[in-house]
């Protein structure tokens, strides 16, 4: 095994371990051991089985799916737990992405300032940017929710869809804010010096030597760790509060609002809370996205890519189930990415039908996603993993199997 493959294996260990913890059944101690062993085995085996290009592709695929999983968890806290039809995911996603970009980039100076404008650039560290992204998206969500959450169902959907478009157009038109129609570039990647030559100066010589063969192209291996850690924190935090008396209240509000309020629950505030928690998570997702793609502009946050695909993910995985939200993100992103290959392969056949069909093949993917949505709604409306019966995990365990 060459050193480069070994180094790449090392980076795969933590994400695989977290994945193992998530999907393996059984008692906690046993799960940890099993996950450790499996992660070591698979992490060591993958670089042997796949060629380097394929593995890099797989890792960047997982990174993107992980980012979508964060967004999907955010939507679950709104739609799954409380029944908010938020068609404005893209808006909070955008607020998070641009906020983190503004807080972590450097203010352009000199000649560059003529081409690239932004309101401020504070050079904060990555995590600071992520947290500010969450907070700002939550604040925006809070102020939006007060008027908008008076609406329900399809009316709420229309209002949030409109608001997301307003947010997108603000970023498109306000040049001073985040470079308007031009992309905002140079969003720093956390610890990208690990993959540079020479590597970060604070690194012990042994570690630097170990990372030596990796090039900046392999950065995504490290970013997958960042994404999986943030995803894990979001998942655990959300799982905690959704399987609690708070989550029980939200489910009650979702099922039968009048009855919940007659039983003394402040429905108005509970609905806002769940909306704001979801916005915070979406903001975090936006930040993680921005630092991954490095350069963002308004066009990334269109309703198709940044709202509806996330809805399909959540509905496929299972609304109201946090594990389902993650599963759905990986499954739909898999279909989406896999379809691109399929269309490539099928392009000679497509050419026979019509000359310009292969060039328009990309649109066929949307048709696939739409078909998938139709199939879910018709045949498995609860999603792959259905919502668990028991809400509160704080209750004493009794004989009832889940």
């Amino acid at each position: 095994m060459q050193q480069i493959d070994l180094a790449r294996s090392a980076f795969l260990f933590l994400p695989l371990f977290l994945l193992g913890l998530l999907i393996l059944p059984g008692r906690a101690a046993l799960r940890i051991i099993a996950a450790l062993v499996l992660a070591a085995l698979i992490g060591w085996g993958l670089p042997q089985m796949l060629d380097r290009g394929t593995l890099t592709y797989l890792v960047s695929f997982s990174t993107m799916a992980g980012i979508y999983a964060i967004l999907s968890l955010g939507l679950n806290s709104q739609w799954g737990l409380a029944g908010h039809v938020n068609f404005g995911v893209a808006g909070f996603f955008a607020v998070g992405a641009f906020t983190s970009a503004l807080f972590t980039t450097t203010m352009p100076e000199g000649a560059l300032a003529a081409y690239s404008q932004q309101a401020f650039g504070l050079q904060w560290p990555f995590l600071g940017g992520v947290i500010m992204a969450g907070i700002l998206a939550a604040i925006v969500g809070f102020f939006i929710s007060i008027p908008v959450l008076r609406l329900r169902t399809d009316f709420l959907a229309i209002a949030t869809l409109g608001i997301a478009e307003v947010i997108r157009f603000i970023f498109q038109n306000e040049r001073w804010l985040a470079n308007g129609p031009q992309p905002m570039r140079g969003i720093p990647r956390p610890l990208d010096c690990l993959f540079k030559d020479p590597a970060c100066s604070w690194l012990p010589p042994g570690a630097a030597e170990f990372l030596e063969p990796l090039s900046p192209r392999d950065y995504v291996f490290f970013y997958l760790i960042v994404v999986s850690l943030i995803l894990a924190v979001v998942f655990i935090a959300l799982e905690r509060i959704s399987r609690s008396p708070w989550g029980r209240m939200l489910r009650a509000v979702r099922d039968e609002e009048n009855s919940a309020s007659m039983n003394g629950k402040n429905v108005f505030w509970r609905r806002i809370e769940s909306f704001v928690v979801g916005c915070f998570i979406m903001g975090v997702g936006g930040a993680v996205y921005a630092h991954y793609v490095v350069s963002i502009d308004y066009s990334h946050f269109n309703p198709l890519f940044a709202t509806f695909i996330i809805w399909v993910m959540l509905m496929l995985g299972g609304s109201g189930n946090n594990k389902g939200a993650i599963l759905g993100a990986f499954a739909v992103w898999g279909v989406w990415s896999g379809a691109a290959f399929m269309i490539d392969i099928a392009s000679p056949a497509l050419q026979l039908i019509s000359d310009d069909l292969p060039t328009r093949g990309a649109y066929l993917r949307w048709m696939l996603v739409a078909l998938l949505l139709g199939v879910i709604v018709l045949y498995r409306p609860q999603g792959i993993l259905s919502e668990r019966k028991k809400v509160s995990d704080f209750m004493t365990d009794d004989d009832e199997p889940q």
Binding site: R240, S244, E273, S392
Partner: protein, 265 residues
């Protein structure tokens, strides 16, 4: 109802309440009061405004004019959950259970002021939340025993039969520990046996826990047996009030119930 000498204000007092829905005056200057420790019946022909009155008392609708007091305290402008926290609880004519939750958690939901209802407490004080959950769960199991639904504790509430849902509504009231309960047709769609059991439970709760009841009911047998006094409503107003026998034999009441037909004839 006659002993006005009692200085204590009534547990519920409704004063000159008016509510219009478009051109229809559903409640037309209704005034009535409910004394502590009674099971007060509220009867009247369909469309008399009984359920609307409940909706106004519990803050579901805001009245156009008039006031609602509990123990002399004005609760007119409170939202439904605020009215609940003043010790007033209600059931619905058609049970409104939380269908995708278990029967047990439907009950556990009701307990007011749970620590875990603040989501940050689930992160910061998990021990306290867990301890309280255990307490609430024990209470809920007791209540389930009282309403004889223990065997369905872990069943989805949406899967219960109509009568069982009625019992569940009663169970939720027990969890709330209210002072005044508004029951909207507790016996509608319930068989005789269950109805007798409901009546028995209501009487028992009044006797043992001092809960006051105001109940809308169309089943006259139940009203005559259980309620004293009985208030008769008609066309959005209080028509009369008295002991069950007085009400039964009052020509004005008969007129209100049957007046439509007789008047036209």
């Amino acid at each position: 109802m006659s002993d006005k000498s009692n200085a204590k204000p009534p547990v519920l007092e409704v004063r000159d309440l008016v509510k219009n829905f478009g051109g229809i005056r559903a409640i037309d200057g209704c005034s009535l009061s409910v004394q502590e420790g009674t099971i007060t019946g509220l009867i009247g022909p369909n469309g008399a405004g009984k359920t609307t009155l409940f909706n106004l008392i519990t803050g579901y609708f805001a009245p156009d004019s008039g006031r609602v007091f509990t123990d002399g305290e004005d609760i007119t402008s409170l939202p439904p959950h605020g009215v609940f926290h003043r010790g007033i609880c209600r059931t619905f004519q058609i049970p409104r259970e939380h269908g995708t939750m278990t029967v047990l958690e439907n009950l556990m939901l009701v307990t007011p002021g749970q620590i875990g209802e603040q989501f940050w407490n689930c992160w910061l004080r998990p021990g306290a939340v867990r301890a309280q959950e255990r307490e609430i769960q024990d209470q809920a199991m007791e209540v389930l025993d009282f309403i004889s639904l223990t065997h369905l504790a872990h069943e989805y509430a949406g899967r219960l039969s109509g009568g069982q849902k009625k019992l569940l509504e009663l169970g939720r009231i027990l969890m709330a520990k209210p002072r005044l309960v508004l029951l909207d047709e507790p016996a509608a769609g319930v068989n005789r046996t269950l109805m007798n059991k409901l009546a028995e439970n209501i009487e028992k709760l009044r006797r043992e826990r001092g809960i006051t009841f105001l109940l809308i009911e169309h089943d006259m047998d139940m009203v005559m047996e259980l309620c004293d006094p009985v208030i008769v409503m008609s066309e959005g107003r209080r028509l009369m009030e008295g002991h069950p026998e007085e009400v039964r034999n009052d020509p004005v009441v008969l007129e209100a119930y049957l007046g439509g037909q007789y008047g036209a004839a």
